[in-house]
């Protein structure tokens, strides 16, 4: 019997005897003949030596930021992941346990979630945070549905900035029809920022929310105050979507501009890029709307001796209690990623987080300056718009071609944005983090120079 199966062949024999049976087949007698098979046509079990070799070899077919200078961002960032964070995550007490439904032997997970919620509210300037959602894109979807529920009217119009991550927008599109939402997209101006005039025109009495991303997909910092003003002007909710969560250490998030929801992706906080997942959706809102919030929530309480304790709470919002009337169908969430973010944020520290954001700002602006100064032909797509650690550049060739050439020079140069929107300049979106030393800058500048 396979070592991952606890009982050997003699054990099986004994247990069958105890049941008064001859064969396992007798236990499976209820399976109709028509659906049965005897065995799977799969290769035999591979031992660990073989597995390690095989996957190491498969991995050789990937070129990644681990060994190649990379400026890829666009919603997934290559930030530090300290060894101490990995060490905590590899504690079996955390990674092999289930959702903490039994609080008495889950205080570790619960307290960590409570700390996660606190960290997220402080970062976003909001009052309450849930314990995670699948990812940033689904967090945006949940925000739109949340707005619909909160308003309790039949307002179904979601006004969406064009500068929201195009993948998030397409995800929202996929959910829109079945959930009965109507999506209206507001274009960006030539400065890469949401066109506020167009926004004023788009919102109306049928609008349930206005959603804006800042820094937006093009790296540009939006005018959040104006957006919430426009949304609230028509009685709609204002939703701030964040894809680079580190930005909130330096740039006020929606909570400071009277937004009703700040949500998005917190992969930046200690979660591996991992070709797109698992990542960490987050969702924060106002206390008064907490009962409409999707996802799990951890609360403080006491035990029977009056000592502080934590447990999941307000589960009457959730599918396992409320079934068809739940605020969302989410069950398994991204618990371990929320833990990763908690460890990461606490290890980086409050002052450290600000320093790190400041570091990213400095690097990105220095690289932008050098790209312009040293590479005749390459320039910022939005030279007058503020940015944090990501910016769009244009040059003598298109983004895709530049990226291809840079790859030959050993640099993952950035994300060509043309694939999503013909209206956007055909450039490269460049993200810079603390993991890009100056030698990466030199490599990029050299590569783009030769791609000119």
């Amino acid at each position: 019997m396979h070592p991952w199966v606890g009982a050997g062949p003699q054990d099986r024999r004994n247990l069958l005897d105890e049941l008064g049976l001859e064969t396992i087949d007798q236990l499976l007698a209820r399976l109709p003949e028509a659906v049965r098979i005897d065995r799977l046509d799969l290769p035999p079990a591979q031992d660990e030596t073989a597995l390690r070799r095989a996957f190491f070899d498969i991995g050789l077919n990937n070129t990644t930021a681990a060994r190649t200078p990379s400026f890829l961002g666009a919603g997934v960032y290559n930030h530090i992941r300290p060894a101490a964070v990995d060490a905590v995550l590899s504690r079996a007490e955390f990674f092999t346990s289930y959702t903490p439904y039994q609080p008495e032997i889950s205080q570790g997970t619960l307290q960590a979630l409570f700390e996660f919620q606190t960290l997220m509210t402080r970062l976003t300037g909001m009052e309450v945070s849930n314990a995670s959602l699948y990812d940033g894109a689904t967090a945006l979807v949940e925000a739109a549905l949340f707005a619909f529920r909160v308003l309790r009217t039949k307002r179904s119009r979601v006004v969406l900035a064009e500068t929201v991550h195009p993948i998030y927008r397409s995800v929202l599109d996929a959910y829109a029809e079945p959930t009965g939402l109507e999506i209206v997209t507001v274009p960006a101006g030539p400065d890469g920022r949401l066109d506020l005039k167009a926004l004023e025109a788009a919102v109306n009495g049928d609008t349930c929310c206005v959603a804006v991303q800042s820094p937006n997909f093009l790296g540009v910092v939006e005018n959040l105050g104006a957006v919430s003003h426009a949304a609230h002007g028509v009685g709609a909710l204002a939703v701030h979507v964040v894809t680079e969560a580190l930005s909130m250490a330096l740039l006020k998030a929606g909570g400071h501009f009277d937004f009703d929801v700040v949500c998005g992706e917190a992969q930046s906080f200690g979660v591996a890029p991992g070709y797109g997942g698992p990542h960490l959706g987050f969702f924060t809102c106002r206390e008064k709307t907490i009962r409409q919030m999707p996802g799990r929530l951890c609360g403080e309480t006491v035990d029977s001796e009056g000592d502080r304790a934590f447990c999941l709470t307000l589960s009457t919002r959730e599918q396992h209690i409320r079934r068809a009337k739940a605020t969302s169908n989410i069950c398994t969430n991204q618990g371990l990623m929320a833990l990763a973010a908690t460890v990461w944020l606490e290890a980086v520290g409050g002052a450290g987080l600000r320093r790190l954001a400041q570091d990213n700002l400095s690097r990105a602006h220095e690289l932008a300056r050098r790209l312009v100064d040293e590479n005749s032909g390459w320039r910022l797509a939005f030279p007058d718009s503020p940015f944090f650690n990501e910016f769009l550049i244009r040059g003598p060739v298109g983004g895709s071609e530049a990226a291809r050439k840079a790859e030959q020079a050993g640099v993952l140069a950035g994300v060509p944005v043309i694939r999503w929107n013909e209206r956007w300049p055909d450039g490269l979106l460049i993200a810079v983090t603390e993991n890009n030393p100056v030698t990466d800058f030199d490599a990029l500048i050299g590569a783009l120079g030769s791609a000119s």
């Binding site: 499976l28 979630l113 991204q334 990226a403």
Partner: protein, 491 residues
């Protein structure tokens, strides 16, 4: 039983409460010029420079989480008999492979030729899942089971649309998991309940009545949440299909019959597969999971994008497809979970996977046999991978299922799932972890029997449990009444 002192662990925010300058991580330093935020960002957009929380040294961070971890039970501690949740052993080789930077540093927007290894893994996982389900199409995108349900239901919706039909109802048995009706509602359908018959399976007559031309799909769990196999599944599927509906199969319990039966032969049109249940990826204290969906021929055109395709030049990501329902999340899936599942499947091989399922069923039946005298069994239909008792015997002594659960904690075991499925009042839903040896199954049964005896003889010991846990019974009602969902500094 042994026990051990654990230090009270304050909240992180209560450490270094005076916010004295400390440092938790040595951050990379930038040799270039420092940019003043004021000079490049609008003043009104800037946070002030007050730290949002304290800084503490690296060791203090590590001890903080070490001590917190000590308060948790986990699969590595032993049997974790949560029904429906399928707490499997998480092989360490999965983690070792997922730790390779060649995989975890891959960026989802890299061009295909740079990530052929990633795509190969996804492609092979799809092929393996096709073999396991006997179904012709797979999407790896969903982030968990519930998300997979949504993907499946949306494909069904789109298929109906393509047929020009506008059916409004999804039928869901009363024993179904909460995500089933919630998903149906989320996807814009009306969830209508159908009752279970006396043997715990779907009441065929009730289904017959309910299954009309307004029904888009029936959602069935096989085996169902009572651990009972829907033995008339083929007839049911035929009935549903013949009336223009689709069969959505909740595959959370696939672990009961891998290698012994094929959902494809049962007539399923869509079925999600919880890789974090049947295929051993860790639960992570609540997630992440991954919920790939297998689909029948009829739903193939509607599969989500992006998805991996294979050609002569290697593998490619298909980012759009005419009839696809689109993308239900960012990027193409929780890849690092998919990777772990593939390592597991390769590590098990076809025979290993079958042996695992058989052992789950065997253990569940042994538990049933050993506890049957002491705990009441509402449905005595043959048990597959899990068995649902109830507390009716113990209630006579004032002891409820929650009390039994809490008392098990004192015996050093994680309790079964409580109060689900809803069709069993006071349910105790037991699903054994198949990777433990029979000694552990025995120890668990002995603990359960001891508690049954205590319930009779010293019920107050049970009702006041747990006695030996880091915190005593937690007041969940108070938590909901006096909501406190974040820490607030005193001052």
């Amino acid at each position: 039983m042994k026990h051990r002192t654990l230090r009270d662990e304050s909240l992180f925010f209560e450490r270094n409460p005076n916010r004295r300058q400390r440092q938790g991580i040595l951050l990379p330093t930038f040799d270039g010029p420092s940019v003043d935020p004021d000079s490049v960002l609008p003043a009104e957009a800037l946070m002030d420079d007050q730290p949002l929380w304290p800084d503490i040294g690296e060791m203090d961070v590590v001890t903080h989480f070490h001590r917190l971890s000590q308060l948790n039970y986990a699969v590595d501690e032993g049997l974790y008999p949560l029904g429906s949740c399928t707490m499997k052993y998480n092989p360490r080789i999965n983690e070792a492979v997922a730790g390779l930077s060649a995989f975890n540093a891959a960026h989802p927007l890299q061009p295909d030729h740079q990530v052929q290894g990633v795509l190969q893994v996804m492609w092979e996982l799809e092929e393996t899942l096709k073999t396991i389900t006997g179904m012709p199409g797979i999407t790896l995108q969903p982030a968990a089971g519930a998300h997979g349900e949504l993907a499946g239901i949306l494909m069904i919706r789109k298929a109906l649309e393509a047929r020009g039909e506008n059916r409004e109802i999804v039928l869901v048995p009363d024993s179904a998991h909460g995500t089933n009706p919630a998903t149906a509602a989320f996807a814009g359908f009306r969830a209508v309940e159908i009752p279970s018959g006396p043997d715990g399976t779907v009441d065929l007559e009730a289904l017959d009545t309910a299954m009309d031309e307004n029904v888009a799909a029936v959602m069935l769990t096989v085996p169902n949440t009572l651990g009972v196999f829907e033995h008339r599944i083929v007839e049911i599927a035929e009935m549903v299909h013949s009336r223009g509906g689709f069969v959505y199969m909740d595959g959370a319990n696939l672990n009961a019959f891998v290698g012994r039966a094929l959902p494809g032969l049962m007539g399923a049109d869509a079925m999600h597969i919880n890789l974090h249940k049947t295929f051993s990826t860790p639960h992570g204290g609540g997630g992440p999971g991954a919920g790939p969906v297998a689909v029948s021929e009829a739903l193939l055109p509607f599969l989500p994008v992006p998805r991996v395709v294979k050609s002569d030049d290697g593998f490619a990501m298909l980012w759009s497809d005419e009839n696809s329902i689109g993308s239900l999340r960012g990027f193409s899936g929780s890849f690092l979970i998919l990777l772990r599942a593939l390592v597991y499947m390769r590590g098990m091989g076809g025979d290993g996977l079958r042996e695992m399922s058989e052992t789950g069923v065997l253990y569940a039946n042994i538990i049933r046999k050993r506890l049957e005298g002491a705990y009441h069994l509402q449905y005595d239909t043959p048990t597959m991978h899990e068995v649902v008792f109830d507390d009716s015997e113990q209630v006579k002594h004032g002891v409820h299922n929650t009390d039994i659960a809490k008392r098990l904690l004192d015996y050093g075991f994680h309790p079964p799932t409580m109060s689900f499925p809803l069709v069993v009042h006071g349910a105790l839903m037991i699903e054994p972890t198949e990777s433990v040896g029979p000694e552990e199954i025995r120890a668990f049964c002995e603990a359960m029997l001891a508690i049954a005896k205590e319930a009779e003889q010293t019920p107050e010991v049970v009702t006041s449990a747990p006695h030996e846990t880091p915190v005593r019974r937690v007041d969940e009602v108070l938590a909901a009444r006096q909501l406190k969902v974040r820490f607030e500094d005193e001052g």
